[in-house]
């Protein structure tokens, strides 16, 4: 295996240091590495002199390195998916965004239902007059006399985001679930790239005039990060800040990194607590549902102590954080964290002690370790299936370089495992926050960020509460953002939910769905 250029999480390197490989070699490098345990953290296209550059970021979790490789494609290329299934969703995205066909892809469909970024092109040969309607596409069909289709969504019964689920059922048993998203598509990546309007822009899109670029990052950029998945405000804002810091070659002050890490773990605590409550709710076990609903809000209120907003808006900024912590606030945080954690322990212990709960959790929606690895699952869903990956320990940056957060890996891959991983992580996050707040580094919390280096690539990973968040930026010769790629953990994991439903009862869907609790808007961008 030849070597590829490598970098650490939160580093940048000149684009010219990434050699442009011939297509077959690009392909074989990725396939070989994925077979040896690398994960595809990102794989995307960007316009490059009339062609499309394909850029891949492969995570080497054992050595804590990120490997990069790139190539050029014209109209088509041999798909990676048949040999590296975790490329599946990425290649569908490349086809939809740039009109390039990954030949041999087993199920090449749009994922967000928008026009190609390059007007006039379309991977499915649809003309400009053909309307593109969300989720109007082909679906897997199981044929047979007693097979029936169940269609759910986009508008669901609860207060949740829209998506479409299509079940192929035999009686109560689900043979296959197909998930179609795209209803939440708001055009964030396109806006970050400054591509004006893909539906009416002139043909100059592959060389967008600098005047229409939103970069160097416009006043909206950081707000896109905070709202692309609003429940992961801190996670995405942290990745974005790391990108600009890498490109500007600055390291935020230790105190700023500590506050970011506290905010990131509070985000995890709030969401994991809410998920455990919601899991209880989905099986009708109301005590834990009621208590966790309140306790989740208490964690959100701790985040509001940091910055005034329950979701952590306006806290993380390139160069540091916008708000410092005063002594009384730290004391208040520690006291309330302790009280809230005790409440969670009390509420969550009920789950493990109640046989009727565990009988519904155990064995439901199992995803095997092999499937989880092949699909490239991340976060608690991966760890529940025996895949030991966690950015905080594998690719640590900032506060995680000096403070370990132990992660747990279970084998069963079922709802019980996904629930237990969350409970374990709640305990470790509380320990982490306690440790960081009790030894909060002194100093400033924000510094100037120098302009981004021209013609560089930067990669930033953050372990959000759903798993690995990957941002990649490529700058142009003026140091403006030429391309910005966002991979929310949900992008990796939606197919995991589809796999979890196989051979399950359709009535277990809400429970399985909640055990993943994936983001619709984080996927749709």
């Amino acid at each position: 295996m030849t070597t590829l250029p490598q970098l650490h999480n939160g580093q940048a390197l000149p684009l010219r240091d990434i050699p442009e490989l011939p297509l077959p070699e690009f392909r074989s490098q990725i396939v070989t590495r994925v077979r040896r345990g690398r994960r595809i953290s990102s794989l995307f296209g960007l316009p490059d002199g009339g062609q499309i550059m394909l850029l891949a970021v492969l995570a080497n979790d054992d050595q804590g390195m990120l490997e990069l490789c790139r190539t050029r494609a014209q109209d088509r290329y041999p798909a990676l998916t048949p040999d590296a299934p975790q490329a599946h969703w990425f290649e569908r995205e490349i086809a939809e965004q740039w009109g390039i066909v990954p030949q041999g892809h087993p199920w090449l469909k749009p994922i967000r239902f928008h026009r190609c970024y390059d007007p006039g092109r379309d991977a499915w040969g649809r003309g400009p007059a053909t309307p593109i309607e969300p989720c109007v596409t082909d679906y897997f069909r199981v044929e047979g006399e007693e097979i029936h289709d169940v269609a759910v969504g986009p508008v669901h019964a609860g207060i949740i985001e829209p998506g479409h689920f299509r079940f192929q059922c035999h009686g109560e048993n689900v043979l296959h679930l197909e998930i179609e998203l795209g209803y939440q598509h708001r055009g964030i990546e396109r806006a970050l790239m400054g591509i004006a309007d893909s539906q009416c822009a002139p043909s100059s899109i592959r060389h967008p005039p600098s005047a229409i670029r939103n970069s160097p990052p416009g006043p909206r950029a950081v707000h896109y990060m905070e709202t692309l998945a609003g429940d992961t405000t801190i996670g995405h804002a942290t990745s974005y800040a790391s990108i600009l810091e890498a490109l500007g070659n600055v390291t935020p002050a230790p105190r700023a990194q500590a506050i970011r890490a506290v905010a990131l773990e509070l985000e995890r605590l709030a969401n994991h607590t809410g998920d455990l409550g919601a899991l209880a709710g989905d099986i009708g076990f109301l005590p834990t549902l009621s208590y966790c609903g309140r306790l989740r809000g208490d964690f959100l209120n701790l985040t509001a102590l940091l910055c005034g907003n329950r979701f952590g808006r306006n806290l993380v900024r390139p160069g540091g954080v916008r708000f410092d912590l005063t002594g009384p606030v730290v004391t208040d945080l520690l006291t309330r964290l302790h009280a809230t954690f005790e409440g969670v322990q009390n509420a969550v212990d009920l789950l493990w002690e109640t046989p009727s709960v565990m009988s519904r959790f155990d064995g439901t929606g199992a995803v095997s370790q092999q499937d989880a690895t092949q699909l490239g699952l991340v976060g608690p869903a991966a760890r529940a299936s025996g895949v030991n990956c966690d950015v905080r320990s594998d690719h640590p940056s900032g506060m995680y370089l000096s403070h370990d957060v132990p992660s747990v890996t279970l084998r069963t891959g079922d709802v019980a495992a996904r629930a237990y991983v969350r409970w374990f992580e709640i305990q470790k996050s509380v320990e982490f926050i306690n440790g960081v707040l009790r030894a909060l580094p002194a100093g400033s919390v924000r510094q100037e960020v120098r302009p981004p280096a021209p013609e560089h690539v930067a990669v930033a990973l953050t372990e959000g509460w759903r798993g690995e968040i990957c941002h990649v930026a490529v700058t142009d010769d003026q140091g403006r953002l030429r391309h910005y790629k966002i991979v929310d953990p949900s992008f990796h994991n939606w197919f995991g939910l589809a796999m979890a439903l196989r051979r399950q009862q359709i009535s277990d869907f809400p429970l399985c769905n909640k055990s993943f609790n994936l983001s619709y808007c984080g996927h749709d961008l």
């Binding site: 969300p134 986009p154 949740i160 055009g187 309007d197 309140r294 102590l305 009920l350």
Partner: protein, 252 residues
């Protein structure tokens, strides 16, 4: 069973006394903004330049804030050289009209209650269907939190229901992406008349940070008629509940 009861005792009674007692807002909370005209430099436009959503405008000596666009990000306070702009801890923000969201030196007109037949029908029992149309899950989460024991929305006769057929109205979040437009229209059509529409968050009111993206509709107002506007990004749960209760005449 004994364990469940013991846990119940430990968890205690948690419902807030809202609206009889005001909620405790966090110290750094950014509520309704105001501009001190005495400090504002007439020809300076730093705040307008800094605003990511174009929520600020200037006529004469002071700034006008469009709360329907405002993210409450306070980028304008950072930009203001004379510290004329201040975000207060005023969480009551809901209005009945889009125009009333414009904040200048005049008194802010909070939402008035429904009148006549609508008040009689919905005042003591309001069933809502929530539609997330491009919402980022923050407005959704802080709407959902009203159902928890802390806020206990049910005590006001307000409930979120699973079907538009069972609903008296819609609560819409998000900028309404083109891909959700038809679903929102169909959900509205499936809601029996008379019906209300409540929009929550900057996105649903104006498109928010996604305003003027070709992929979105700049909020729900372009698609359905709106009866109550609750601004914020996201609004605090107290802001949402305050708005709902004002609409029903439960807070005056």
């Amino acid at each position: 069973m004994l364990r469940v009861l013991r846990a119940r005792l430990k968890q205690g009674y948690r419902t807030m006394r809202f609206p009889d007692q005001p909620p405790v807002m966090p110290e750094k909370y950014a509520g309704r903004p105001r501009c001190n005209a005495a400090h504002c430099v007439r020809e300076c436009t730093a705040c307008i330049q800094a605003c990511p959503t174009g929520a600020l405008s200037k006529s004469g000596g002071a700034v006008t804030f469009d709360l329907g666009r405002c993210l409450f990000c306070t980028d304008c306070t950072d930009a203001c050289p004379t510290k004329a702009i201040q975000f207060t801890n005023e969480y009551r923000l809901a209005t009945r009209t889009r125009e009333a969201l414009m904040v200048d030196h005049r008194p802010f007109a909070l939402a008035q209650a429904l009148e006549g037949e609508a008040r009689r029908l919905f005042g003591r029992s309001l069933k809502l269907r929530q539609v997330s149309a491009g919402g980022c899950n923050a407005c959704e989460a802080d709407t959902n939190v009203l159902n928890t024991v802390g806020w206990d929305l049910g005590r006001f006769g307000i409930q979120f229901v699973a079907s538009p057929r069972h609903a008296d109205g819609l609560l819409v979040t998000g900028p309404v992406p083109k891909n959700m437009e038809l679903a929102l229209k169909k959900t509205y059509a499936a809601t029996p008349s008379p019906r209300l529409v409540i929009v929550v968050g900057a996105c649903a009111i104006s498109g928010g940070v996604f305003a003027d993206h070709p992929e979105v509709n700049n909020g729900a107002t372009s698609t359905v008629p709106v009866d109550l506007f609750i601004p914020g990004c996201p609004p605090h749960p107290a802001t949402i509940l305050d708005g709902l209760l004002r609409l029903l005449g439960r807070i005056k």
